[in-house]
């Protein structure tokens, strides 16, 4: 599985359809989708995260 650590993604039916390290890009790209169908999420940057 490709390492996408730390990237922001757009999910459609739990499949990654867009990815980028910059959420600004993801927010712009999200406009081309019907927003009822997608989710924006972030892939953790490390195995264990403590925010």
């Amino acid at each position: 599985m490709e390492d996408l650590s730390g990237e922001w993604v757009i999910l459609k039916n739990d499949e990654i359809v867009e990815r980028n390290k910059d959420i600004r890009v993801i927010l712009e790209v999200s406009k081309k989708y019907d927003d009822e169908e997608i989710s924006i999420s972030k892939i953790p940057s490390a195995t264990y995260c403590f925010y």
């Binding site: 599985m1 490709e2 996408l4 730390g6 993604v9 757009i10 999910l11 739990d14 499949e15 990654i16 910059d22 959420i23 600004r24 927010l27 999200s30 989708y33 927003d35 997608i38 989710s39 924006i40 999420s41 972030k42 892939i43 953790p44 940057s45 195995t47 264990y48 403590f50 925010y51």
Partner: protein, 155 residues
């Protein structure tokens, strides 16, 4: 605000959700809550935010604040994991839930950093934990939000 109760499953990280169950069982799961932010005439798609009982409030990132045109109400200092960060207090509309089962919290307080950090959106205690009994059931891989009015009646 009309409140609904919610039960959400824990989720593995994006990219791993279509893996066989046997593999997913060995991966970390997260209490990700579907939310939307809004401000004036702008609204985000659904966002998977981390429901974080250790966070005091709502954390968004700078890019989202810019995207929605959120105001910088005042500069503050916030901290996490031993570090301190310059942040701004702001206000933003918060909706939790999805697919027609949603609760609109209205405009709530949030903070965003001066310089973006490698952190997801965090839904901390204020205001969600003030309005809901929140039960993390790691042994069932799910979490529940029970309206406080219902939780208080049960006592």
């Amino acid at each position: 605000m009309t409140k609904l109760g919610f039960t959400f499953p824990y989720r593995v990280k994006p990219g791993a959700r279509k893996l066989p169950k046997k593999i997913k069982e060995n991966l970390l799961n997260y209490p990700l809550i579907p939310i939307r932010f809004y401000y004036k005439n702008k609204r985000t798609p659904i966002i998977e935010a981390l429901l974080d009982s250790g966070a005091d409030g709502i954390y968004i990132n700078r890019a989202m604040a810019d995207f929605l045109g959120l105001p910088q109400i005042k500069k503050i200092e916030s901290g996490g994991m031993g570090g301190k960060y310059k942040c701004y207090e702001t206000k933003v509309g918060l909706i939790i839930g999805r697919a027609g089962r949603v609760v609109d919290f209205g405009i709530v307080k949030a903070i965003f950093p001066e310089n973006d950090l490698d952190v997801p959106f965090l839904i901390g205690r204020k205001p969600v934990f003030e309005e809901y009994q929140v039960i993390f059931e790691d042994y069932r891989q799910r979490f529940k939000l029970i309206p406080k009015e219902i939780a208080l009646k049960k006592k």
